[in-house]
Subunit: 272 residues, 2 copies
Amino acid sequence: MVSVAKAERMRDGTAVAPSVAARHACRNGMASTTAGVANGYVQGNLAILPEKFASAFHRFCQLNPKPCPIIGMSDVGDPRIPGLGLDLDIRTDIPRYRVWKDGEVVEEPTDIMAQWRDDLVAFVIGCSFSFEEALLADDIPIRHIEQGVRVPMYRTNIACASAGPFAGPMVVSMRPLKPADAIRAVQITSRFPSVHGAPVHLGLPQSIGIADIAKPDYGDPVSIEPDEIPVFWACGVTPQAVIAAAKVPFAITHAPGLMLVTDLKNKQLAVL
Amino acid sequence: MVSVAKAERMRDGTAVAPSVAARHACRNGMASTTAGVANGYVQGNLAILPEKFASAFHRFCQLNPKPCPIIGMSDVGDPRIPGLGLDLDIRTDIPRYRVWKDGEVVEEPTDIMAQWRDDLVAFVIGCSFSFEEALLADDIPIRHIEQGVRVPMYRTNIACASAGPFAGPMVVSMRPLKPADAIRAVQITSRFPSVHGAPVHLGLPQSIGIADIAKPDYGDPVSIEPDEIPVFWACGVTPQAVIAAAKVPFAITHAPGLMLVTDLKNKQLAVL
């Protein structure tokens, strides 16, 4: 809340906060990845559902907080989420959206003014960008960032708790780390439960149903050196995969990697 | 300090605290392992050195806090350590001692009244029993306890920082854990820096110079299941190994597994 107020004060002058500037750019047509945009500010995954399905989805998130940590939520039919940014409009402030019908992506618009309805509820879910900032600040190298590719993600055999039509396996992201860095990464990410928190697994991919670590189900493969172990975090792709599997008649998400930039600061998410 | 006062109050009545009772038993000839004795109370490793070597050993511990966390220390020539127990006498209150001359064990007495000198300094160093209690309380199984053997320990290629004659590799203890338990164990033991704290390594024994995990350098081997990874903590055997390697003319330690029982509570060591 502090950062939101600060951003507003800055907008009264000549400068705006980087997060506000990022959302303004989206309103003006920016349609590229938000990786590296407005460093220090929390970015979020988006899921929009009709009220008819929203309470079941909300229960799904409640029951599966590691892959689906809710950091913001709109009222029914209201495109604003003031807790994440006073001027935020969820219909315009994301670079690119995915519109889903019956489990299939039917279009990828840069705004959803035409698709918005009075019965829609928007959920914003924490994203690994926040904890990656904390890892990098601790000098822990992150392979997919070094290699300039998307983080590798995998479907696992870890079943999410189901709620209504929403069910399916947890999707995890993987970062190869030296063991001492993996231990430090557990400590660091444990401080950030609202952005997936501590890893869910490390070291034995086959134990969680990953047959071939070189073939991620989403994102890009990265190399794992002989002195590294794979470390797995619950991933915000999980809710998107679950929405697709549920084949709900209508839903909207962000396009992968093109996230909502909020006025919250990553540091503000630390519980200790 | 709270627990010490409480123990003293109890001694004024008919009962004494279990830790006080354990030390009294030692004074009266108990010479068996302290594993499982006075549950809830901190146990410690002992190292006694002549003043001539004590400051270098103190520096060694300061520089290597993970294997050598000091939880108590005597004044020169004073056998008392009131911070660990008001009535504690370091000459009698450990079940069995090892007396070292020039790097060799020359005797293993049950008290050191005859060996005590005016120039000796006693160091008490944190022990894994404390964090094992916290792991067990969290329902994390510990293999060597289940199997009723000593924890397996290994010399590593992790060099300790040296101080005067004291130098050598870190010795680690190993507990096989399922990956999710290993992550939880990192969180739990991070709260206990004065008893070795977070693991120093996990998953890749060869990376820290362990050629054969089935052949520990100290303690007993334990089985590692296919769905488990080995997790390594810095070990209080390190200072004993370093004292042996330094071949100092005179030193006294505890006999392995036969520790000093203190009036501190394990819970009091948690930093969070």
